[in-house]
Symmetry: C2
Subunit: 69 residues, 2 copies
DNA sequence: AAAATATTACCAATATAATGGTACAGAGTT
DNA sequence: AACTCTGTACCATTATATTGGTAATATTTT
């Protein structure tokens, strides 16, 4: 999963929940800039930042071993 | 998934593949310190760093909507 | 159309992740 | 015992993520 996909996923999930970037920024206590950059595929967020966002978007990170094809 | 679990997972996966921290550092081009801190649950790695490590450990990140319980 | 709202662009300042070196501790080897 | 390999501790430096402000640009609403 590339950072661009991750951004799109977050953006989509945020809209599904009817939240604005400002709403999410207020909920998470992070800046609008950071969230906006992540959604745009710019930026390189830290794990904690992602965890923080995911908590309020009801998302979770999973790590899996790639299947050999 | 918390950062501590992620660290343990990476460490376990690295050992399964028979790699030392130095090996993984050489493969990824990152410093031993960074990798060691991630595995120890210290530190807060960026997405790109995780992506880089995962590539050589044959791991992948997945994001899922949490099931409501 | 205008007006209100939402998002991005831009930028300087701050916080902190990442680096690369050395030193230290532990385990295994000879 | 010393020696080798591995991983962690420590530290200063560099790189960059994050912040918070304003301005500019969509986008929606009336």
């Amino acid at each position: 999963m590339k950072i661009e996909e991750l951004g799109k996923l977050i953006k989509h999930r945020r809209k599904v929940l009817g939240l604005t970037i400002r709403d999410l920024a207020d909920l998470t206590g992070m800046s609008r800039t950071t969230i906006s950059q992540i959604e745009s595929g710019v930026g390189n967020p830290t794990f904690q930042v992602l965890q923080n966002i995911f908590e309020y978007l009801n998302l979770e990170i999973k790590v899996k071993v790639k299947k050999h094809k």
